[in-house]
Symmetry: D2
């Protein structure tokens, strides 16, 4: 698997070659990220949960979903780069935090929809 | 910089230990991703572009923005894992696509706001 | 049902009394709207489609979903006001557009997931 | 200004004529709403705050922004209808709530970026 560091450099070079840095404020990049996540949701919105689980086997939808995941990743990487944040380390740190808040015992036992035990970091 | 592969495994283990896989359909994970991107936007929404560029130096906002980037990355990683997509490769492939559509010459010369020349992949 | 016009004036007054107009650029309001939609998604993300259909009967989730719908509506109304757009008329015009593109006959007959026949305006 | 009640009925009829009700679970509609908000953000993301304030005067962007506002409103209206929520009343109630939390005196005096005094309902 190629590295995030390599992707980060390529996205940075892509923007610099085109003289786009002035557009790449954190606000703008966050908006762009939200826009691409919206496009990803649009590919899945009318599918049942089961259809969504099989989407990558669909000849038309599979490539589109992959392209949207690609766009989301490009913007997330660029935003983290502009903010000077190590993406993966920030995620690992947050996961550790969540691990303390949602221990395995309490998460397995509780079916509470209120406490946010359904997901890391929620 | 730690690797995406390592993060992917840790997020997968985190979910499995808590028996959360049944909640992790692509639809649900895409919704969760959008929710976390929303939280990230909320941290930046009232800042001026200049304030947003300096946000990581702020003692209160800096850590919060980093935590949200962490959450977004966790969900993006988990979603890609469940879909069987290599995050970084999908991004590199999309970047290459965009490179063909928005060549350096045309992107630098054109100030068109309509053609999407402002950003990779738009 | 109270009117959108009345809501628009109250939201405007709310902002003016607090001297918030300078924060209410269309970009900022669009980000705030996305943030609130994210909060709405977060309330529904782990529910099954059936659970989501019954959510308003839940004593805890019902009021929270209603509050998020309220927040989304507040920001959408404020954004439309700042842009000088008549919300309802813009929606009616778009619906008419969509009606021409997705006629009843073609929409009922086709189960195509590709053509966007699943929803108005997609 | 046409009423939300009229729009609600037209959107409902639009969906029923095309036999789309089975796709219109609250989860799906919330995802569709997020998708359209994403499209709206995409129209504004590279503009400066000042350019965004003038966007409706732009011959190309103005109509596109108006169309996206229309789409967002269509989905919000449909979602509220399916959930049995009075959109405008939910917003008025939330505004009243926010009015109690962010009084005029405290909001005008405080420039705190931490307390959420920048916006109603945040």
């Amino acid at each position: 698997m190629s590295s995030i560091a390599e992707l980060t450099e390529r996205v940075r070079a892509f923007a610099e070659e085109r003289d786009w840095e002035r557009f790449h404020t954190p606000k703008n990049l966050a908006m762009a990220l939200a826009g691409e996540v919206g496009e990803l949701l649009a590919e899945l919105q009318w599918l049942t949960p089961e259809q969504s689980a099989a989407v990558m086997r669909d000849e038309e939808l599979g490539p589109r979903v992959r392209a949207e995941i690609g766009d989301v990743t490009i913007y997330l990487t660029r935003l983290a780069d502009v903010l000077g944040i190590d993406l993966v380390q920030a995620a690992l740190d947050k996961l550790e935090d969540s691990g303390r808040r949602y221990t395995v015992e309490s998460a397995r036992g509780s079916a509470s929809k209120i406490s946010g035990d359904y997901a890391p970091g929620s």
